[in-house]
């Protein structure tokens, strides 16, 4: 499979992402899977800001950014324009972070999926508002420290569970929804190619560790992403026309503490709090049939 990967880089070096950035790797791999015939509608966020400091751009594909909450709406316009021009073979791709997808951009995304536009929506999920310096989003995991869920005497980290956006999009009846991880590039690329081959709205939710945001050394970025999957904290699956199947099943699930203790954002957790997270992970894995 790796041989089939295109050599060409459609996301140029020299962009200003932090060293070891998971989100930019997700974008780089996604563009490798999709190729040149795309038009990207990108929401405000880390990827947008680090890749287009005027007069430079890292994008080697057509790209437009309008605002934070409308990547899916802008993509709808691009898709409609291509359709009205009768242009075939160009895939419209909306790209946004977890905040731009699960919070401020959810309405535009829901509208675009409900209208059935032929486009791929990619969410690079680094689990907080990283561009503005690590504030909590609805996709921040339970217990995590961020600058707006600090660890204090009264409150300790995020007190709500991570919002399950793939389930919300699947509930719209989208023909193809999948989760992916930068630590499993082949799985990621396969899913993006399936999305590209699917007519109608598709949604790919990519788990992207963020060294400065999750408080770990940059060289461990892939290792952290891998451990999320091996521990069941992040489950790799796809939902095709409503039917879910897990694409990567860890042979023997690692304890979630192995994943948590690599990251400074969880270092305040007590054994009891870790046990609570383990319980929810076990329950979720049972629910999805992961061992």
């Amino acid at each position: 499979m790796r041989e089939e990967l295109v050599e060409e880089e459609l996301f140029a070096p020299g962009h200003r992402a932090c060293a070891g950035c998971g989100a930019t790797l997700a974008v780089r791999l996604a563009l490798k899977a999709l190729g040149k015939n795309v038009i990207v509608a990108n929401a405000t966020g880390c990827v947008e800001v680090i890749s287009t400091p005027y007069p430079e751009t890292a994008w080697r594909v057509p790209w437009i950014h309008a605002a934070f909450e409308n990547a899916a709406a802008v993509a709808s316009g691009v898709e409609a324009a291509l359709k009205s021009l009768g242009r075939r073979g160009v895939k419209v791709v909306a790209i946004a972070g977890d905040g731009g997808t699960a919070d401020i951009g959810l309405q535009a995304l829901s509208g675009a999926v409900e209208r059935g536009h032929d486009f791929i929506y990619i969410c690079y999920d680094n689990e907080a508002y990283m561009n503005t310096g690590i504030q909590r989003s609805s996709a921040t995991p339970f217990g995590a420290w961020t600058t707006t869920t600090p660890v204090g005497r009264v409150k300790r980290g995020k007190d709500r569970p991570k919002k399950d956006v793939p389930a919300i999009i699947a509930a719209h009846g989208a023909p193809y929804v999948a989760t992916a991880s930068v630590a499993y590039p082949i799985d990621l690329i396969k899913k993006l190619r399936k999305a590209a081959a699917t007519e109608g709205p598709t949604y790919i939710h990519i788990h992207c560790p963020c060294p400065p945001g999750w408080r770990f050394d940059s060289d461990k970025m892939i290792e952290v992403a891998r451990l999320a999957v091996l521990s069941g904290a992040w489950i790799l699956y796809e939902i095709k026309n409503g039917r879910l199947n897990v694409t990567i099943k860890p042979p023997k699930r690692r304890p979630v503490s192995d994943y948590l203790k690599m990251q400074g954002r969880f270092k305040h957790l007590t054994d009891a709090e870790i046990a609570e997270i383990q319980r929810t992970v076990d329950e979720r894995c049972r629910h999805l049939g992961v061992g």
Binding site: R2, L5, E7, E9, F11, A12, P13, G14, H15, R16, A17, C18, A19, G20, C21, G22, T24, L25, R28, L29, S51, T52, P53, Y54, P55, E56, T57, A58, W59, R60, V61, V182, P185, P211, D217, S218, D219, K220, M221, I222, E223
Partner: protein, 86 residues
């Protein structure tokens, strides 16, 4: 440099004008003897500075020294060595 109306950038991939090597304090050193040419370093590099091959090439103009390649190399053929300041 004449500005385009609406700030349209008409030169794709032009961030290559800006070299990010100054960001790193460590750089990856490749031991070609150990390298098996598996290409994982190329695949995992967020900045696309590694070119495939046995041993892989590293474009030190843009490498930010994040260390992922060294951490992920199955053959332990890449080690992060301190960036010697001239």
């Amino acid at each position: 440099m004449k500005l385009t109306p609406g700030a349209v950038i008409t030169e794709p991939g032009s961030t290559t004008r800006y070299q990010t090597n100054g960001w790193r304090t460590f750089r990856p050193a490749v031991d070609s003897g150990k390298c098996t040419g598996c290409g994982l370093c190329w695949l995992y590099c967020p900045d696309a500075v590694i070119s495939r091959g046995k041993p892989p090439g590293v474009d030190y103009r843009y490498c930010k020294g994040c260390g992922i390649c060294a951490n992920e190399c199955p053959a332990k053929a890449i080690t992060m060595v301190p960036e010697e300041r001239g």
